[in-house]
């Protein structure tokens, strides 16, 4: 039987790093997707995802409800990505074109993610969604969770999750010109 997030958190606090590794494995794709959907390149999103887990590890003792780990973690991911986006904007505004540093070539082992045009278009459209809808959609199609499972993971009512999913899909249908017929 798989350990629950709460149990893995408890074990981590007890000193079991393997338990934390299980948490990382369980949530890394979702955290990565949160960073990617903020407009970061895959390599940057990878770094941000690492930073999220390190922050989570350090702050684990302050987590009041271990069963709310997922929601707490995604919140950290959102903040980290937002902070990084702000810092990036400031760097761009503060640096004139003539004095901009050369962009370093990414490490080869991180150039692993080549998004095709269609996927890039999908991710771009996802950025138009409100954050709560984007997260629900990500968990649905990245990790194939049902609305019930997403509700349990996020500690929210199932009806709320379904509503967000409904609106997110509705928007994407319109965005991709897939809306047909009358309601």
């Amino acid at each position: 039987m798989a350990w629950s997030d709460a149990e893995l958190v408890q074990r981590t606090l007890a000193g079991d790093r393997e338990a934390f590794s299980k948490l990382v494995e369980r949530h890394r794709r979702a955290v990565f997707a949160v960073a990617l959907q903020r407009g970061f390149q895959p390599a940057e999103a990878d770094d941000l995802a690492q930073e999220v887990f390190v922050k989570a590890y350090k702050g684990l003792g302050a987590l009041q409800q271990p069963e709310a780990f997922a929601r707490w973690l995604y919140g950290i991911a959102g903040h980290v990505a937002a902070d990084a986006a702000r810092a990036r904007r400031r760097r761009r505004e503060g640096v004139g074109l003539e004095s901009a540093p050369e962009v370093e070539a990414p490490d080869d082992d991180l150039v692993h993610l080549e998004l095709d045009r269609d996927s890039a278009e999908v991710l771009h459209a996802l950025r138009e969604l409100p954050e709560d809808q984007r997260l629900v959609l990500t968990l649905r199609y990245l990790e194939n969770l049902t609305p019930k499972e997403i509700a349990e993971r996020l500690g929210e009512p199932r009806g709320t999750i379904r509503s967000r999913l409904h609106h997110a899909l509705g928007y994407l249908q319109v965005a991709f010109g897939l809306k047909v017929g009358a309601r």
Partner: protein, 951 residues
């Protein structure tokens, strides 16, 4: 077409005659299919059957699948680089300096409740290690040594149970006829040797089914199902009692921790019963729907449900869970139902067929801790958010609300009420809830949407829906301007939204984007739908706010924040809903500083004279800048401001207080803003063509245009064909070309307007000068020159203007607001007022006395000429009116231009006049008598004499 837009509140697509799925149902199932990933077999079959015969629904399903495919494809590619986990672990800080974990603190003496103590609630979470420590403390052994021993023992046991957990139990013995139902739905008789596989169900039909369970040839427990009961196998340790009652006997050495496969039974979704080695009964049938009984024979169980904390039930106790609450009582270890009597339960004799024998010291049922409700009491002010209601029936909408609020009993009862005869449950809702709002507000809106009324219920009466007419629909007074709505409406949206083809779909899209509930009031649905369809359901704008403004313009509707939603409705209705006491500030620019009561009084009179506009106008809404409110024919002519009063408020000027709606307030603010700035100048040809015009008869406008052409490009507008000035109706004696052109246009019922810098056109007067509107003329430039006249100048000006132009300014009311003249008129009137101001600036009156009688020089000359005696010898003039007017005897004496209304000339030119005696008359008097004899009236307008029909 949206189901909500077909004939108002009627239901959606027709149900097929064969009872199959309707398109509305199919769409909902498609949504469920996409959101959940699958449907039940029967539902899927129905959906596919419908889709096969319905191209639009098939297209919808295909599009949904296409979208899913794209999403899955895009997400499939998303993953971190190889070695991510290792990188994270490498980046983690080391264990040095970390605080001691909780379990060690417990070991060193921190007090925590013991999990095996049945009288206390167990800790919320526990790891296998933690349980070991707590067990140790109870044993009272030395923490250090015992820890190691117990840990070792426990780990071995843990490993054993984990391993054993994977093996499905088998049926060692079976008594009674039962069946196994597998995942595909097929049934086989239950027999010894059968394995109880995951997701299989055991069903007892007409008789009790009694099973002994074994694993690896070891008896591990006993399971009995009462007749007509059903139990599902979740896994080796976990069962779900679906209906009826069941008896469980669990070996004492079964795991005690959830992580290790503790034995658990889901009791009909109402509670979870977890076992710590015991024999117990769960009965779902004993207390009706929503109720269950747990009776423990040996050992103890723990019962947990959403409504209660984890509760231990010991041997000889019976826990009852109903909609009214939970209770535990001692039963004296008797059996609650006759079916158990035949089971020969260990340690107990059957008590007989009647069931429960009350103990000798019977007490009222005891409660464990504070009495927690099974379903909490509903408060109508509880808030709901993000609930999809669009295209759902009212009943389905209530279901959605109930799901969001943990299914409170009150909503379930309300749902039941819809099955009565008065309220149809088939009407489809046209909106969803996006922003947080009280439940009561949501229900009120839902009721309104289906032309009903929601009553929350008073003492002794439950909440209900009642039928209503559109006129009776309650509209809560507009609830102010919430600060968070405006920023939300600034949400960006795609400029082009395709694929939306209903008004409800449009407002749903906008509302979902910005998280604001937008509801188009149902009463005007057909009219609004038609108007929205005319736009193709597309709107310009890059934000929700801009699209909202475009939508209101297209629908010619108003909007207000009403009962926690953005309510779009007929302007008259919005105005009625938003009637409220309002205080609108007026700056010192209009009333002076300190406020001048005379100015304030004039301003108040201006406001009192206002009415809702007759024509369609849009005014900016103060609360939502960028969104315009529209007026309405139903409001036209009505006074907008009730109880208007003025309150000085230093130093900022003052306040106008009145009762009015949003439109009225917007109109007042618009008006006050307009009064603070001057009307723009109206250009005229008089200033451009000052050279002399040809004197003598003017046959028609073309002749004047011809004269003007070398210096100014003028043409008749297409379709404008002024009548000739026949019978010498227009004889120019003195006018410069520009003025001659303007008077000719006026006489022809036209006007003159610039098309661009060097091209003018003679066009219809209404086109050139517009309808009557509030005109504001500032006399400040004149007052600057004559400060001593400042107080009186505006009023004097207001008196001089109609004196000079009695026809143009007949019945025009002038108000003086500070240094401004305010009147309602067209732009030609404004032009004349602006010219008079210019002449005052150039050389107007310099004293009060002069101002009272001041006239321009050209006018003075005209009046002087007319005042002189008719110089010829007294004559008695006889002839036609036209002939006499242009008779040399009169004509030669007049130096001013005499215009005759062309229609009047046509009618009166041949009027015979006999013996008009000119003795001792002035030229003016002769003209007046001539006109009067022909039934005409003479007035002096500006610098011309005008003869017109008496009105």
């Amino acid at each position: 077409m949206s189901t909500s837009e077909q004939s108002g509140v009627s239901s959606g697509a027709e149900r097929p005659a064969d009872g199959g799925m309707s398109c509305a149902q199919a769409r909902r199932q498609i949504e469920r299919l996409i959101e959940e990933g699958d449907l039940k077999d029967a539902e899927r079959a129905l959906l596919m059957a419908h889709v096969r015969g319905c191209p639009p629904c098939k297209a919808e399903l295909d599009n949904c699948r296409r979208l899913e495919g794209r999403l899955r494809g895009a997400f499939a590619a998303l993953d971190t680089a190889p070695g991510f986990n290792a990188r994270v672990l490498a980046a983690l800080p080391g264990p040095e300096g970390k605080e001691a974990p909780e379990w060690l603190k417990n070991l060193l003496g921190a007090k925590r409740p013991h999990p095996l103590d049945a009288s206390l609630p167990a800790p919320e979470t526990s790891t296998p290690l933690r349980r070991s420590w707590l067990f140790l403390r109870r044993a009272g052994l030395s923490a250090g040594i015992a820890a190691i021993l117990t840990l070792g023992l426990w780990c071995a046991y843990w490993a054993y149970t984990r391993k054993a957990a994977d093996v499905a139990p088998t049926v060692a013995e079976v008594k009674g006829k039962g069946v196994r139902v597998n995942e595909t739905g097929s049934t086989v008789p239950l027999a010894a040797g059968d394995a109880l596989l995951r997701n299989e169900s055991i069903v007892a039909t007409a008789e009790t089914v009694d099973l002994v369970l074994a694993s690896k040839d070891q008896r591990i427990g006993r399971l009995a199902l009462a007749p007509h009961s059903k139990l599902r196998v979740v896994n080796r340790h976990s069962y779900q009692l679906l209906s009826g009652a069941a008896y469980f006997e669990v070996r004492k050495d079964r795991p005690k921790a959830a992580a290790d496969g503790r034995f658990e039974v889901d009791a009909g979704g109402l509670a979870t019963v977890s076992v710590t080695g015991t024999a117990f009964v769960i009965d779902l049938a004993a207390r009706g729907p929503g109720g269950l009984v747990v009776l423990v024979q040996e050992g103890s169980v723990q019962v947990q449900s959403p409504a209660i904390t984890r509760t231990s039930v010991a041997a000889g106790q019976e826990l009852t869970l109903t909609t009214g609450g939970v209770s535990i009582r001692s039963t004296g270890k008797t059996h609650p139902a006759g079916w158990l009597a035949a089971l020969n339960l260990p340690g107990e004799k059957p008590d007989g067929p009647r069931g429960v024998k009350p103990p000798a010291d019977a007490r009222p049922p005891a409660r464990v801790g504070p009495p927690p409700p099974v379903r909490r009491s509903l408060r109508w002010d509880e808030r709901v958010k993000d609930v999809v209601l669009l295209d759902k029936s009212l009943g389905e909408g209530i279901d959605a609300l109930a799901e969001a609020l943990d299914k409170p009993q009150e909503l379930l009862a309300l749902r039941q009420q819809l099955q009565g005869p008065l309220i149809s449950d088939t009407a489809a809702l046209s909106f969803s809830i996006h922003n947080e709002m009280p439940l009561q507000a949501a229900l009120r809106w839902m009721a309104r949407d289906v032309l009903a009324r929601f009553e929350p219920g008073a003492e002794g009466r439950a909440a209900r829906f009642v039928t209503s007419t559109a006129d009776e629909l309650p509209g809560a007074p507009a609830s102010g301007n919430p600060e968070d709505v405006r920023p939300a409406l600034e949400t960006r949206v795609p400029e082009n939204i395709v694929g939306i083809n209903s008004l409800a779909g449009l407002t749903e899209f906008l509302g979902a984007r910005c998280g604001v509930t937008i509801i188009v009031e149902r009463a005007q649905s057909a009219q609004f739908t038609a108007a929205a369809r005319d736009t193709g359901f597309t709107l310009p704008g890059a934000t929700v706010l801009q699209k909202l403004d475009a939508l209101l313009a297209a629908l010619h509707a108003g909007v207000a924040w009403n009962d926690d939603a953005l309510n779009i409705a007929h302007p008259a209705r919005i105005e009625a809903l938003t009637q409220a006491a309002r205080r609108i500030p007026v700056g010192p620019q209009l009333v002076g500083q300190p406020a001048n009561p005379l100015w304030a009084n004039d301003l108040k009179q201006i406001l009192e004279e206002q009415a809702y506009p007759a024509s369609r106008v849009a005014v900016p809404m103060p609360w939502l800048p960028g969104v315009r409110l529209h007026s309405d024919a139903a409001l036209a002519g009505r006074p907008p401001f009730a109880g208007l009063t003025w309150e000085p408020a230093q130093p900022e000027g003052g306040l106008f207080c009145c009762r009015t709606g949003l439109l009225g307030e917007a109109l007042m603010r618009n008006l006050l803003a307009a009064l603070q700035s001057e009307s723009p100048p109206v250009p005229g040809a008089a200033g451009l063509l000052s050279q002399a015009a040809a004197l003598g008869p003017v046959p028609d406008m073309e002749a004047l245009i011809e004269q003007a052409r070398p210096r100014l490009r003028v043409a008749l507008a297409p379709g404008v064909q002024p009548q000739p000035f026949s019978k010498h109706a227009y004889v120019n004696k003195s006018l410069p070309l520009g003025e001659a052109l303007e008077w000719g246009a006026w006489l022809a019922g036209c006007g003159l307007r610039p098309v661009n810098n060097d091209f003018w056109t003679v066009d219809d007067a209404a086109v050139c000068y517009g309808p009557p509107a509030l005109q504001v003329l500032s006399l400040q430039p004149v007052i600057e020159q004559r400060k001593e006249l400042a107080a009186e100048l505006p009023r004097l000006f207001a008196r001089v203007l109609p004196d000079l132009y009695p026809t143009f300014f007949a019945n025009t009311k002038f108000r003086c607001v500070g240094s401004r003249i305010v009147f309602t008129g067209d732009r030609r009137q404004l032009q004349l007022a602006q010219r008079l101001r210019a002449s005052w600036e150039a050389g107007g009156p310099s004293t009060l006395a002069e101002a009272r009688t001041w006239k321009p020089k050209s006018r003075v000359d005209v009046e002087k000429n007319l005042a002189e005696p008719f110089s010829r010898e007294p004559l008695k003039l006889s002839g036609s009116f036209a002939g006499l007017l242009r008779h040399g005897a009169l004509s030669s004496q007049l130096r001013c231009t005499v215009l005759v209304d062309p229609a009047a000339m046509r009618e009166k030119s041949g009027t015979e006049i006999k013996d008009l005696d000119t003795a001792n008359l002035s030229r003016r008097q002769v003209l007046e008598r001539l006109a009067s004899a022909a039934g005409l009236v003479m007035v002096i307008e500006g610098d011309v004499v005008w003869l017109r029909l008496a009105r």
